[in-house]
């Protein structure tokens, strides 16, 4: 059964003046929405408002996804860390990916904090500090090492699968700055795949790509959409938008009109 992931109610978006007014739209799970319209009309601002980066001028954005990791955002400038490796950039997505990862992460943080605290207490010989450290210290240390190991293994698997999906496994340790524009877009896509969010918001993520790169990125995205995620993307190529999307939101004169694409 389809689930509503996003509800935009009487929404006005913009910075001081509204760029788009009275938006009343919804997004269901498994849908692909393409936003089209001329440059500078407010498409990016709409995406930033949906992602919670810009406050709406009026109305509400109701996101019915997990607060942490439920929304994946690919900005127009990609938002990659240029000096870090492909692996590090993709791993950023995995940080807030699954509940398992979050659980391991919490256990590790608690264990590290506990170890530091017991070390601190024993160092200052606070009453019970010394015995507390010798009783609990080794246990806490082992827990933190084990949780770190499990976290690392889990992360490696997620990152490796995402890297394979965008065919970048041979560039694992390469700094992002050395990759071509198309490869960088694939890294940004893989970062979102590693996160496996319920709703993906992508700003012109297919622009400046050659046909081969477009195919790789679309294939990877369609796989995650099949599993129930939704995609909202800004797309200037109308033919491609019609081919990929279930619905097209056209921004014109400060309003949005919706067109439903029939399945062929």
């Amino acid at each position: 059964m389809k689930q509503t992931l996003l509800k935009l109610k009487d929404l006005d978006v913009g910075y001081s003046e509204p760029l788009i007014k009275d938006i009343n739209l919804t997004v269901q799970s498994g849908e692909v929405i393409a936003i089209t319209g001329p440059s500078g009309i407010g498409k990016t601002t709409l995406l930033r408002t949906i992602s919670g980066l810009v406050r709406p001028l009026k109305g509400t954005v109701e996101l019915q996804v997990e607060k942490r990791g439920g929304l994946g955002y690919i900005p127009q400038k990609l938002g990659l860390i240029r000096h870090a490796s492909v692996e590090h950039n993709i791993a950023l997505g995995s940080i807030s990916s699954s509940e398992k990862m979050q659980m391991f992460s919490r256990i590790r943080s608690a264990a590290v904090l506990g170890f530091i605290l017991s070390l601190f207490l024993s160092f200052f010989q606070y009453p019970f500090g010394g015995p507390l450290f010798f009783l609990c210290g080794p246990g806490i240390l082992i827990t933190s090492v084990l949780s770190q190991r499990l976290l690392h293994q889990q992360k490696q698997t997620i990152v490796w699968n995402a890297m394979k999906a965008v065919r970048l496994s041979d560039k694992q340790h390469e700094p992002v700055r050395r990759l071509s524009g198309g490869q960088q877009r694939r890294v940004a896509t893989a970062r979102t795949l590693a996160q496996s969010p319920s709703l993906i918001v992508a700003d012109e993520f297919l622009s400046e790509l050659d046909d081969t790169n477009v195919t790789i990125v679309i294939e990877a995205m369609l796989n995650i959409i099949k599993s129930g995620s939704s995609l909202i993307m800004v797309e200037h190529n109308l033919a491609r938008a019609k081919q990929l999307a279930n619905r097209i939101w056209t921004v014109e004169n400060g309003t949005i009109t919706e067109e439903v694409i029939e399945d062929e």
Binding site: R48, S51, G52, L53, E66, K67, R68, G69, G70, L71, G72, Y73, I74, P75, Q76, K77, L78, G79, L80, I81, R82, H83, A84, H88, L92, G93, I95, S96, R177, R178, A188, R191, Q195, P197, V201
Partner: protein, 317 residues
Amino acid sequence: MSESPKPLSPFHSALRFMKSFQVLVILTSLTGLAFLVMDGMINGQWDLMTSGWNNVKIFLSETGPPNWSVLEARSYPTCEERYDVFCSIAYIGMLETIKIAFVSTVFGFIGAILLSSLAARNLSPVWLSVSIRILLAAMRSLPSLLWAILFVIVLGLGPLPGILAMTFYTIGYLGKLQYEAIEGMESAPLEASRATGMSRPEVFTNVVVPETSNHLLSQMMFMFEYNVRHGSVIGIVGAGGIGYYINNYLQFQMYDKVFSLLIIIFLVVVIIDFISMGVRSFVNEKGDVRRPSWLTVMLPGKKAAQIHHGVDAEDED
């Protein structure tokens, strides 16, 4: 029909003409203003510059040549090292200064990075950012020399007041450089990570630190170098290091030995600069692009391209 640009009024065209020289105009005006202010301060006594030159000559004749006996082993205590230089005043003093600088840079860096993450406006709310900025300003408003005097009064002579003084100053100074570097980073990586629901510490450790690593490393190495140089100054007030010996020699007017110690400090600073360059090469694009050599700068374009890129310029034409 093609539209021609609207003709400008004489005032606007004069303004546009002036604008093309704006850098030159601004620089000339600033230099002129600086000269005027300086003239007022020295009451027009520009002849001091020429008479001062004679004093420089006298000073150099008295200080030089440097006395390298500072590299010989001290007479007491007896040297038990394999090489005499390890028992010399220059080595012992410099090593202590480097140790003080290292410890205070490490502690200062940790303090600064924690505070700068709270002071950066793109990471923290305004109230927190402003209060941390005031704290950092207070820490660097006292130079390390004054911090050293304060700590010498509280803790007595030795390296500990030196370490604390330089740590405090490092936090204040490095904190400012760091939050400015963080504020100058691109917003796209921050937005991408924030939208995913990452917590503030996660954004800081996984996005901000790697993204600004080039600046952070460069600032840390600069601060280490700064602390080595200032380690020699704060030593003068009894906070340990090579400055203690420089102060002793100055009191006995042994300028030739002071001169040699200053040369040693200069060499250490240069070495740190090279280390900094090497460390930062891991996180910047220097290794990715070929740098022009002096030879190719001197040569005509085609010849330079031939040497630099290994292409046959004739073929390209």
